[in-house]
Symmetry: C2
Subunit: 391 residues, 2 copies
């Protein structure tokens, strides 16, 4: 037998989607925006209020006639747990449904300890953070996790991650879900950073590229306001695009990859070969800041090489924003100038005339904001809300 849906709530998710912009609205305004009868709007608001997704605001809105009650999205009704795990560092946050960070923590956490110790630590840290702000696990609507390697998004499992021994195929969503009691979404770190940057740049930006220049180089792609993961989830792997006039050997086994000339690991190796003590991308930036001209020259050259590759991508993809993040982005204009110079001189004028190329505003926080966005977009999708209200 077909299930008889609760007709009061069908479409309530669409109403909530309107209110997510943070503006309070009266029943009459919502009726006008949706074309629904005011009685239908009232029924749907009642369903949303019964779950506290929507609350009446204290203010009344007057539009000529007598003041009318207004209703607003209740960003605080649930919390999101967000984790951005890097090779050696972790950053965690508890956010509300408006991506406001309620609690935050950063820690050294080597990912190569393997999944169970890492995720045990994560669960403990999240519990402590929730307690700090007087919340508990029952209020968690979802968990978002970014990992420093390829992830099959549908299953949330890492796929042959090069720097994550023991993680290949590990069922992160099931493992965490069983302990936290909420849906868990997992993606790779550049994808969640792109989501975080796009959230911050919304609503005007439809097409955005986030490029992370760290040990390696990769990017996250927003097409039509949605993450473009590609056919095998491999989109954005720009670190292994071949650059002209380079025969540098890459860790992938090929020669001439962008990463092998412009990645932090490659630059650190070049400095070590010149007798300078540099272990990784952070050291390269620190040396540049300390006035080391070799480090500065490498970083500027990296900017030009990255810009050369991005110039082709701008012609192909025509983004409105390119955001540059990762450790090397901390070098600021030293790296940005080269990127901009190469893109403006080699991309078509139509594609660059309104193109913004900038360093990340979110910095270290792009990942946790994006992990929260990934969860909230899933939990507040109109279909999910409708199901939650009828279920």
């Amino acid at each position: 037998m077909p299930r008889e849906p609760n007709s009061q709530s069908t479409g309530a998710g669409a109403l909530l989607a309107i209110l997510r912009d943070g503006q309070a609205r009266t029943r009459a305004e919502l009726a006008q925006l949706t074309g629904l009868a005011r009685s239908t709007v009232s029924q749907r608001l009642d369903a949303l209020m019964s779950h506290r997704w929507v609350v009446p605001t204290e203010d009344f809105i007057s539009s000529g006639g007598r003041p009318a009650a207004a209703f607003a999205f209740n960003e605080r009704v649930r919390v999101v747990l967000a984790a951005d795990l890097g090779a050696t560092h972790a950053r965690l946050a508890v956010t509300d449904l408006g991506m406001t960070v309620l609690a935050e923590r950063a820690a050294e956490l080597p990912i190569d300890r393997g999944p169970e110790p890492t995720l045990e630590w994560l669960v403990t840290a999240f519990r402590e953070m929730l307690a700090e702000i007087g919340r508990d696990l029952t209020q968690v609507c979802g968990v978002g996790v970014g990992l420093p390697g390829p992830v099959e998004h549908a299953s949330g499992r890492p796929v042959n991650p090069p720097i994550m021994p023991g993680w290949d195929g590990f069922p992160v969503p099931e493992w965490l879900g069983a302990r936290i009691g909420a849906p868990v979404l997992v993606d790779n770190d550049v994808n969640i950073m792109a989501l975080g940057e796009h959230w911050t740049a919304r609503p005007e930006v439809d097409h955005l590229i986030f490029i992370k220049i760290g040990t390696g180089i990769g990017c996250g792609i927003i097409s039509g306001r949605r993450l473009h993961r590609g056919a095998q989830g491999a989109a954005g792997d720009v670190g292994h695009i071949r650059v002209p006039s380079s025969e540098a050997l890459c860790r992938c086994g090929n020669v001439g990859c962008l990463e092998a000339v412009a990645g932090g690991a490659a630059m650190a190796a070049a400095l070590r070969a010149a007798g300078v003590d540099a272990r990784g991308s952070r050291d390269v930036v620190a040396l540049m800041r300390a006035g080391d001209t070799r480090a500065a020259r490498l970083i500027r050259q990296a900017g030009r090489e990255i810009g050369g590759v991005m110039a082709s991508i701008v012609n192909f993809f025509n983004p409105s924003v390119i955001v540059i993040g990762g450790d090397i982005a901390e070098a600021g204009e030293q790296v940005l100038a080269g990127v901009r110079e190469a893109i403006y001189s080699r991309s078509l004028p139509l594609a660059t005339q309104h193109l913004s190329i900038r360093a990340s505003d979110l910095g270290d926080r792009a990942g946790i904001i994006g992990a929260a966005v990934m969860v909230v977009e899933h939990v507040l999708a109109p279909d999910t809300i409708d199901r939650a209200l009828t279920g």
Copy 2:
């Protein structure tokens, strides 16, 4: 006062979207698929049938109990007018809502005659084609037009098209709409070709790149089953991506553009410089077929250059299908081999393991099929249907 919608029809568009796969279904099946009450399904089917979008099929479907009436999408209820205008040729079609071609015509039609003579001809030809199949303008639900130059999709107006004198800013939708009495959608030729190829490859293919190798080189991009036009509608302009080790002057004023070494015009020019009579891309392919080794060498080299550029794009975009079309694609394996070789040797294994690289199956018809798809997706969008039924 908010408008009271016709509650019988709200959501009818979603029902129609299900039936568009061509399969007939009973009320019970539709109720099960949508979760709607069977009485609601009946009301929505009645609304769709009153406009003949859906018709009862002659067959009855038995599923254990007594046979039940089945309902099917009525692809023939309206027709679409589709035009693919090139620099010198035009191809026109009348299709049904399932993209079946009911009438077709190809003609010499120099686009540089300007918009009014060209579009006058179009209107006359469409009227004749409709008469041939016993239809008329009242049955036309929309017109789709592909043009050989940049088009601002929202307004349907050409924007500084280099080979279309007199067309800059011409209001194609308004001009044609006034004469045909139906909505008109306009896009550039590679975008509609990508839509046509994606329609043919559906439903499995989410991410597809169509690359047209003709006089110039450009591509149409499907991301997440939708056309990716980019921020200024300039996406896909791969003809002006710089290739290494070329200093060839391009018609855009830069040096080293892909088009300046691998485009049909560039190859014809190279042959002329060697004393061979070749006016354009078609001549280059004809010479190759006639056994001219210089033409064959140029085409194979073009394939490798195009493959080199596409290898970077594969790493960035991770498509599941690359389709190659345009005059030079008629050279078949002579050009495809080089494209494949460069992509497989330079892109990452994960991105190429399931990648299909093939010549267009639709050939000359990709544009008209895509123009029809563009119209049908607009006309049959659930929101549009719901509005049409309540309006």
